[in-house]
């Protein structure tokens, strides 16, 4: 029998339809892989009973020829998505025992289409981090290692568990969220495909909120095709999220393999940063050649506001976070630590429940929104955001179809290596991805090569609003040329 955990999502889908194996067999193989990979700490909750029930139901539907788009396919879900009756924590102590009474729209869409829940995946606390080290369940260990080294590396973050689980073959696909790069950066670090769709493409209802004007759900997978399949099920209008657009969802899979001939690809000079790893510069040029060979045209462009995106993000995102996280007060749900009066109860609850990074961002957000500072910080940052978006709009108006950049300025780093003394050192990980959230655009990271130490690197493609199909077509070209990358399974 074939190794069921080595299959891509599309291959597993074909195998189930051909009845080469059952959904129960597919799910059992993945449950075994999950149990054997606990050293990675990718899952914060395994749900084998639920998985088996869902797989049996999928087999029954498949037997009747009623299999839906994702029938019987085992997925992992970032622990930021509320799952009805299944503990959802955002990897924060303040929600350590929270059991939602409702299901997020995105996950409900996946179950509607027959997917199977393997469990909840680790992430940075409230999605605030770039290395998955701020989780209250401890860091995720990347399935990747530097050549000839056993140093534990970060998988990236905040959706580190999602990226690691897909890279390690623990699930055929996973779901994450991206506020400043939280899907694309871990996808690049783990050698998998990750997409942040256009803001409004997927419903945010039932996702634990971090920064509401930036948060967006998206898929992780081993191939571009798999990513397209997952997005089609995840996306779609939802009356429960007023920012979720009422636009029909294309059959994204059809874009995979479509011609990119004549497409104009922008190469932004501002992304050529001093101190960027030489491997990344080389890879970027390689990516441009691959797209050129496929008939696309490379155009030098300028996005002058690029350098201001990260500082503007570190005003807008903490400001929204401080408002969103005000709800964790020890009254309606979550942790409570008692005090002499209600104010002391709030303060003690939140001090005990939030980790250092979350507390830091809440305080920055509170400060920039406080009387006397609002105009200087928050209002100015929102104006800069308008200018960042304008940069992209001008390029698109001039006929650019997509922008090609590296996903990250470096490959994965060691656990504990960054951000100890200076929080900015960690924040710089998102320098290439954060512009996309600020402008609400779709972006995809595609694994494109290995660095000198054998670690995966990704290239990012940024598209026009709601033109994810262009990114799937271009991403497939890069994937075809670069090949796929898999870590050595040292953990089992």
């Amino acid at each position: 029998m074939t190794n069921l955990t080595a299959l891509t999502l599309a291959q597993a889908r074909s195998g189930l339809r051909r009845k080469d194996f059952s959904a129960v067999e597919l799910v059992e193989a993945h449950l075994d892989a999950v149990a054997a990979a606990r050293a990675l700490n990718a899952f914060v909750l395994e749900t084998p009973d639920r998985a088996r029930d869902m797989a049996r139901a999928a087999d029954a539907r498949l037997a009747k020829g009623e299999g839906a788009a994702l029938e019987g396919l085992p997925l992992g879900i970032k622990d930021l998505f509320c799952t009805e009756g299944i503990r959802t924590t955002a990897c924060s102590r303040i929600l350590e025992s929270f059991v939602p009474a409702y299901e997020s729209t995105v996950t409900a869409n996946l179950w509607r289409d027959g997917a199977v829940l393997l469990g909840k995946l680790n992430n940075d606390e409230f999605a605030m981090g770039s290395s998955n080290e701020t989780s209250c369940f401890g860091p995720v260990v990347s399935p990747w290692r530097r050549r000839g080294s056993d140093v534990k590396l970060v998988p990236g973050g905040s959706s580190g568990g999602s990226a690691a689980a897909v890279a390690a073959g623990l699930c055929v696909g996973a779901v994450g969220t991206d506020t400043g790069g939280s899907i694309r950066q871990p996808a690049a670090f783990c050698g998998v495909v990750g997409m942040k769709p256009t803001y409004g493409r997927c419903s945010r209802w039932g996702i634990v909120a971090f920064a509401s004007s930036l948060d967006q759900a998206g898929p992780f997978s081993r191939t571009v095709r798999d990513c397209a399949i997952l997005l089609r099920s995840m996306a779609g209008h939802d009356a429960k999220d007023t920012t979720c657009v009422d636009l029909s969802v294309p059959d994204y899979e059809r874009a995979v393999g479509a011609s990119v001939k004549g497409m104009r690809i922008g190469i932004p000079k501002e992304y050529r940063m001093s101190g960027m790893a030489a491997d990344i510069e080389t890879l970027w040029q390689q990516g441009a050649r691959w797209l050129k060979d496929a008939g696309a045209e490379m155009v030098d462009i300028s996005l002058p506001m690029t350098k201001y995106a990260l500082p503007a993000y570190y005003i807008v995102a903490p400001a929204e976070a401080s408002s969103n996280l005000a709800r964790y007060d020890g009254v309606r749900y979550g942790l409570r630590v008692g005090g002499r009066d209600i104010i002391e109860m709030y303060e003690r609850t939140r001090a005990a429940g939030f980790g250092k990074e979350v507390r830091r961002r809440i305080m920055i957000g509170t400060y920039v929104l406080s009387a006397g500072y609002y105009d200087a910080y928050y209002l100015r940052a929102q104006k800069v955001r308008t200018l960042i978006k304008r940069d992209f709009e001008e390029c698109f108006a001039a006929g650019i179809d997509a922008v090609l950049t590296p996903t990250t300025p470096s490959a994965a780093f060691g656990i504990g290596e960054k951000g100890r003394a200076d929080p900015i050192e960690m924040y710089l990980n998102d320098v290439f991805t954060v512009t996309v959230n600020m402008a609400g655009l779709p972006g995809i990271s595609v694994p494109s090569g290995l660095d000198a130490q054998g670690l995966p690197l990704g290239l990012q493609l940024i598209g026009r609003p709601f033109e994810e199909e262009t990114l799937f077509a271009l991403g497939a070209v890069i994937e075809q040329a670069a090949g796929m990358f898999q870590p050595q399974p040292w953990w089992c």
Binding site: S97, F98, V99, A101, T198, Y199, G200, S213, T242, V245, D246, M305, K307, L310, P311, Y314, I315, S322, A326, D329, V331, R332, Y333, G334, L335, G339, R340, D341, I342, I343, E344, M345, E347, R348, R350, A351, F354, R359, R360, M363, I364, G365, T366, Y367, S370, A376, L379, R380, A381, K383, V384, T386, L387, K389, P423, I424, M438, A439, G440, P465
Partner: protein, 95 residues
């Protein structure tokens, strides 16, 4: 701009997060590092630029002001740290 120790304590109180005295110096350093980093936004000319209010140009849908949900008090209080008869319990707030 930078914050002093008193401002750190004031912001912590506004944010309703207890901060111990021995944490103030550290937090002050971290917050000032972030504020120094975002300081570069001051060089951007934002004269006449509108602040972004919505990243997508699509108008929000309005719905009818109808009651579409309810009767789920059990579900609402199920995760509460303290509750009684479908009420959330908190320390006394009114003398």
């Amino acid at each position: 701009m930078s914050v002093d120790a008193d401002t750190v304590r004031r912001v912590a109180h506004l944010a309703r997060v207890a901060v111990a005295n021995d944490e103030v110096a550290n937090l002050q350093g971290e917050l000032n590092a972030i504020l120094a980093f975002v300081e570069q936004l001051a060089e951007v000319d934002v004269e006449g630029v509108d602040a972004m209010t919505s990243v997508t140009p699509i108008a929000m849908k309005m719905r009818n002001d109808d009651v579409t949900d309810g009767g789920i008090a059990d579900a609402i209080v199920r995760n509460a740290p303290a509750q009684e008869d479908h009420f959330f319990l908190v320390p006394k707030v009114v003398e």
